[in-house]
Symmetry: C2
Subunit: 253 residues, 2 copies
């Protein structure tokens, strides 16, 4: 089995090393990830510029390729160029430091790596550990390994990826696993407005997630309650419920 | 009525001037758009860096603010800072040079501006003119104006944006309007692999859209057949069809 490993925190982040170790028992590992942090890269790709690729060592050994691009760039480059003749069987992304639940999913570079895998016909899973401080990497690595094991036993359907969010708890304190939906939520943004040393305005974004969803089965609450949240995500953004709503526009002409 | 105008081709692109003119009759216009081209920016946002804002003139008059960020950044900054006390009633994005149909939607900065509007509770519409050469801007401007007129008469439901793709034809040759879904498709990627002047590898992405969908009602075919395509897009990426598929994972623990 051939596993492609990516993230959005960059190839030097600790989470990708944890994921790399967790994947060891499943076969051949290929790390192809952004050379620097690309958090909140969304599904950006690089068209107008070249994309550089540099080998990166960790602990004195070759670890993977650091790519001067976004997570989606890394996956495209890996599947369509670097590993073209030996395509991966599975793409794993992460382990992200910080949750990717609710509306965060649309901004997440971690998720977009898995999304791009699915676009290219390869199953993809994104892993995030829901904390910014004192990460329980051991829990996260173990969960990543166990879920991967299950997905190898029961292959994934096409056109769907999994978004896995892991509570920051010791493994023994996890309550279980919940299959969830993306919780309705938004960021309450706050821009810090300042002047640069030359007197010109700049802004810096800050914000907090606000949940607008009291549903039973949402990703945000599952994690809060100590469950590993697994959300299946698809690529079709059509609002089917609203095809009829807009039908009258067809009569405009 | 207060209209916020954005794009991903940058504030200096001709398409945003066409859209600006097309919106004139509806009220107060505010252009807040990337300072340079940000095509294929996806739903990226800028967290780790400051975002600069500079006034931009066109034809000797103030036109709007050029923002050192992505389309989604522009919308957040506009709604939550620059226009905080007088929020826009509608966000229009474009007019993009090149189509945003099929899987392109997930990479599109043009669409992401409208998406971000909807995240913030403001109706959003993305307009794209489906060509890279000899653009029929007059057609595109007229369609943008007519659709906006309709959306003012019949307000949009929440949590949905419209992705409008306009065939590159003289107005009289348009066949009509079709409400469509996002066509299943992917890019067949080709990476050009080269060496930089210092002998280091770089890649440059190239690709062509391949359609995997023979459905009746898809965006790509509507445009090909001479219809303006209107696709309602929503924010919830949950693959509801597959919640059951993955339920067995809950028993892993």
């Amino acid at each position: 089995m051939r596993i492609l490993i990516c993230n959005d925190d960059g190839i030097h982040a600790p989470g990708i090393s944890v994921l790399h170790s967790a994947m060891k028992k499943f076969g051949e590992r290929h790390v192809i990830a952004p050379d620097v942090e690309r958090s909140a890269a969304g599904h950006a790709i690089t068209l107008a510029d070249p994309i550089k690729s540099m080998p990166v060592d960790k602990n004195g050994e070759f670890f993977g390729y650091g790519i001067g691009g976004t997570p989606a760039d890394c996956i495209k480059l890996a599947v369509c160029a670097i590993l073209k003749d030996t395509p991966p069987d599975l793409i794993v992304s992460g382990i992200n430091l910080g949750s990717n639940t609710g509306i965060s999913v649309i901004y997440s570079g971690t998720v977009s790596a898995a999304t791009e895998g699915v676009v290219l016909g390869i199953p993809g899973v994104a892993f995030s550990l829901c904390t910014y401080t004192d990460p329980e990497w051991e829990t996260a690595g173990r969960i990543a390994s166990e879920i991967t094991q299950k997905l190898i036993e029961t292959p994934m359907p096409p056109n769907v990826l999994l978004n896995v969010n892991i509570p920051n708890l010791p493994y023994e304190q996890l309550k279980g696993i919940k299959v969830t939906r993306m919780g309705r939520s938004r960021f309450i943004e706050k821009f810090h407005k300042r002047l640069d040393p030359r007197g010109r305005t700049y802004y810096w974004l800050d914000g907090e997630l606000e949940v607008h969803d009291n549903g039973e089965n949402i990703d945000i609450h599952a994690v809060r309650d100590g469950y590993v949240s697994i959300t299946p995500i698809h690529l079709d953004l059509t609002a089917y419920d609203h095809l009829k709503t807009f039908q009258p526009l067809e009569k405009m002409f």
